[in-house]
Amino acid sequence: MDVINHDILIVGGGGAGLRAAIEISKSNPSLKTAVVSKVYPMRSHTVAAEGGSAAVLKEDDNHDLHAYDTVKGSDFLADQDAVEVFVRDATREVVQIERWGCPWNREEDGRIATRWFGGMSRKRTLHAADKTGFHLLHALFQTSLKYDTLMRYDEWFVAALLVDEGKLGGVLALDTRRGVFSILAAKAVILCTGGVGRMYAFTSNAGIKTGDGAALAYRAGAPIKDMEFIQFHPSGLLRTGILITEASRGEGGYLYNKDGKRFMENYAPSKMELAPRDIVSRSIIEEVLAGRGFEGPYGSYVQLDLRHLGEAKIMEKLPMVRELCLDFAGMDPVYEPIPIRPTMHYTMGGVHTDKDGKTPIAGLYAAGEGGCVSIHGANRLGSNSLTELLVFGARAGRSAAEYVPISKPCSSERLQSLAKREMDIIQKRYMQPGNGKEKAGAILADLRKTMDEKVGIYRTDDGLKDAVQIIQRLKERFTGIRITQQSKVFNTELTGAMELDNMLEIAHVIAMNARIRKESRGGHARKDFPKRDDEQFLHHSLVFKTPEGPKRETFPVTITKWKPEERKY
């Protein structure tokens, strides 16, 4: 098999991946660095983030306030030392991306403007209208083009990490255009592959969000952390689950039930619509369960009303919300309230890393939604994730660039034998068309239904027990998967099967962890254990893959300044 040598590979070309790539290219252009992505980088899902990016920039704000808001938002599961690093670096990173061309909205005097966001005690969310992720991603991508030393493997799918005795040696990757597998050797790999959203049916996430990085690391022996914590965003557009930004509420939008009442006063009287996402999402479900939701052909919903903001403000601050409503719901928020319900949005958990993106495997790093430092704990605050991509993308890049000169590459023979073992698995598992009967689409549909119904906003022991069993059955069905073609060129049936396999692997861990965590904390809400239980569960979960199945361990939460307290808004 072909071996192409590198120093550092970045898997995934979204915000975290490109920020890491730029950091390395800038600090040490002599390193042979490449971004490997299953899509062209500017297609990455960072592009769909809307509302903004949080950082301390204004005189009335400070890093302790941002850190405290984040820790409280996390329901005290975030590692406070990591959060302190995050908020400090954040200020520098949002200015850096401004210098790279991001068109942040401005104050009258030309300084960067900020807006309100859920769970934030100050107006600290920078934004580029409501297309912040789009602008941030394109600014990063376009800036990355100025580094001639930075290579890219666009539309290459990473099928396995090659790890030799606890040390990273490279990846096995499929060039989807040619249909050929190669070994991309590297001393360091940074996984920046995003979350797992696609395993849910009602989600704001793009088709590419299939948990690839978590599955790759997990199979290679690295633990994945806090996977049970899934964020449901309160405002998913009815029918599709497409995101309607929290900035709609940050700019003054109201939520109404069918009695015309701003129901958030019953749940978070001080923050109202700007309570953190887990709380607003549960409140919407409570309203619907109490019969106070609206009913329509696409199910129950509540209304997000922007009409009082007026057309001028909507066009200036929320133009994408209007476009999305017109294009995907056939209604205009200038004249009508938006029908919304909670949509699966974000994966708090991910590959276990420290503050510099390091995993327990030497040479393996992770950053962004696919990693878990953890700064979000049990619930992420809106607008902390775009900032996270910048801060931890840069940190992982720096840390990998420091590691590479002092490490030795894996031998070519060893890589060949590791790759051969992986190729045998791939051949057997995905590439025997005609042998199986199971349609990938049917397995995926069953997985998504199971996750929505049993591993959703509210969870119970019975439901989670069912979910684990169903997922185990789906995994068995997967072994009989039918691929109808053997074509090499752009075989999306093959990559689709590998993505489905990744999702099944991680879904199992999510359901298992959710069942074991018999408490309610942040985004993990158990009907049968409605209270947070710090005595038993103030810890992270780490899950390792073993031949006997997923093995769960606990990992301590770092607490520096803020003792856990009751979380009220």
Binding site: H45, A48, K146, G441
Partner: protein, 247 residues
Amino acid sequence: MGEEITLNITRYNPDKDGKYTTQRYSIPYKNDWSILDALNYVKAELDGSLTYRWSCRMAVCGSCGMMVNGTPRLTCSTYLNEFYPKEITIEPLANFPVIRDLVVDINDFMAKLKSAKPWIIRKNKRDEDDTSKEYLQTTGQMDKYYQQTLCINCTLCYAACPVYGLHPDFLGPAVIALGHRYNKDSRDEGKADRREVLASEHGVWKCTVVGDCTEVCPKHVDPSAAIQRTKVDSAINWFFSFLTGRK
């Protein structure tokens, strides 16, 4: 059986016979389905080999552009009900080499994108990575370039551009618009570095002002206007260099 709609989809697989054919699929008609929903239905239920790109399904990632009844469109935000009960023809984006079925090769576009130097260029390089404070920029200054920042690189404008169809060397609408975007940004000082490419023989002067790029742009970037403004700028620059003798 409910109502049905017929899709005529271009098939091409270089691994098989390398011939372009059209395959007909009859699928259930749903009033609220996009073309992309229909393609996903075909792939999941009827024919797993059908090949196309998609991702965000909310008109921002730029992956799913195709020719729909002869016009370049984003298929995630184009609905069956616009055409029903007529048949719908779905082809790969025009003017690009086809990789397979509805997937086209955009590497030429990617290379041109880089050639226009779409990043902030400063005379003092240290400014570019200085994080001590932001550049000041008023909303008025931002208005001068903001429209052209909205390009999602979907390449629909290349599929619509008759000049690009005839002269593949033409830089094309989106790339010129992006060059213009940086030229007009008050934080940038790289106009002279971009002139060589934008005003080259393959740059703005190739454009014959058909305006189809602006017509098909799903994000209202108006590349045509950006090209005409860049022409004016480079004509003025040429005129002054003629007067002053500088290059």
